[in-house]
């Protein structure tokens, strides 16, 4: 028996040694994979617009939505391959208009003139400081970036629509149908979506990375939209916010929207 035990212990020892060194060399080669991430010196491109807390100010006194202007919506939806679905219940929208009474349900009262109550107001994702959609997303398909943009990863979205339910502003649309047949043209600079994912405004993160302002802001001829860094007290949006009385949508919910309105 003594000889046997000795032999067994030897074999066991060599096995442990062999497996141990094998694992280490496998890990080494895995670390040296050619496709392993390489540190990039330029995080977002040389001329990217960088901010700490992006925000948007909508000046509804300048906005011509009352006269049927759709410039921002058209520019945004063309830039992001947002389809035009005929059925309202299938509608996909990133920026659209909502009546005043529905946009600011806590700012209306029964004696307000109907003209004001029914006035169209441009609405979009508010990129909340405290976004309920992010809290409820089970797959981390939506998250808040360090610059405050509430971002979406359509690769990860499983289409559970918790976020659409969590959002108090109705800013999220679900792709009930394949959107491609409803696109008049496809912009190759941006992907389309697939049936079964949720989508919304991303504050044009892909344009900011190239040093461009959001498509809606650039397209507005009335200059009713001002985009800027809320963390920078010398930015134009901060200067405007300090000089006018601006509203946010449903502030009592504590979501802290970063889209402001001059009414």
């Amino acid at each position: 028996m003594d000889g046997n035990r000795r032999g067994f212990l030897k074999a066991a020892g060599f096995t442990v040694l062999a497996v141990g060194t094998g694992t280490v060399s496998v890990l080494r080669s895995a670390r040296a994979r050619p496709d392993a991430p390489t540190p990039s010196s330029q995080p977002a491109g040389a001329n990217a617009l960088v901010g700490k807390r992006w925000g948007l100010l909508v000046d509804t006194t300048r906005c011509k939505a009352r006269e049927g202007c759709q410039d921002c919506r058209r520019a945004c939806h063309r830039a992001h391959n947002v389809p035009d679905l005929p059925e309202p219940r299938h509608e996909i929208k990133w920026i659209w208009t909502e009546r005043f009474r529905n946009t600011f349900p806590d700012a209306e009262h029964e004696f307000m003139a109907p003209a004001i109550l029914d006035r169209p107001v441009a609405v979009l994702c508010n990129h909340c400081e405290n976004p309920p959609c992010v809290r409820v997303c089970p797959t981390k398909a939506t998250w808040k970036r360090p610059d405050g943009i509430v971002m979406m990863d359509w690769h990860r979205c499983i289409g559970c629509r918790f976020c659409a339910v969590g959002c108090p502003y109705g800013a999220r649309s679900f792709n009930w149908r394949d959107p491609r047949p409803f696109l008049k043209e496809q912009n190759p600079d941006f992907p389309t979506r697939y049936r079964g994912v949720v989508e919304k405004c991303t504050f044009c993160d892909e344009r900011l990375a190239r040093g461009l302002l959001p498509a809606c802001v650039v397209s507005c001829k009335q200059k009713a939209l001002t985009f800027g860094d809320l963390a920078d007290d010398r930015s134009e949006i901060r200067r405007l916010l300090a000089s006018v009385r601006a509203l946010r949508r449903k502030p009592a919910l504590g979501t802290m929207p970063k889209v402001f309105y001059v009414v």
């Binding site: 994979r33 050619p34 496709d35 991430p37 390489t38 990039s40 330029q42 995080p43 977002a44 491109g45 040389a46 990217a48 391959n81 970036r145 971002m151 990863d153 359509w154 690769h155 496809q186 912009n187 190759p188 600079d189 941006f190 992907p191 389309t192 979506r193 697939y194 993160d205 892909e206 990375a209 190239r210």
Partner: protein, 127 residues
């Protein structure tokens, strides 16, 4: 074991039948058809050396996706030192413009389903 001879014979026949395509090629003396790719570019060097691209393009695309979408990085350097935009539609298909003669040929051959282009746009061929 009862009927061992019959069972073993049956198993051998089964193994022979399932590997028939292999024996067929051996008997014919030449390998089966390989996918013929149209690279579609005169560029000498892809983002990584060709062999690495062939073996690991899916891992590279996965890494690009993470960096662009989740980290907000858009530019990267190739192994040749060239700076490229991490974009499937613009960078990859910019050279390999004919997806149906490049991506699809191998993927059909290997029966690996491509889901990239359910969302990513295939630019119209400029011909």
């Amino acid at each position: 074991m009862y009927d061992a001879g019959k069972i073993l014979f049956g198993l051998l026949v089964l193994a022979g039948l399932t590997t028939l395509p292999v024996w067929y090629n051996v008997a014919r003396g030449k390998a089966g058809p390989q996918p013929q790719l149209t690279v579609g570019t005169t560029e000498k060097q892809c983002v990584l050396p060709t062999a690495e691209m062939r073996a690991g393009h899916m891992a590279l695309l996965d890494e690009w996706r993470t960096r662009v979408v989740r980290h907000g990085e858009h530019a990267t350097r190739t192994s040749g030192g060239r700076e490229v935009r991490m974009s499937l539609t613009n960078t990859c298909l910019g050279c390999h413009a004919q997806k149906d003669q490049f991506c699809d040929r191998c993927h059909d051959y290997a029966a690996v389903k491509l889901t990239c282009f359910e969302c990513h746009v295939v630019p119209k061929r400029s011909k």
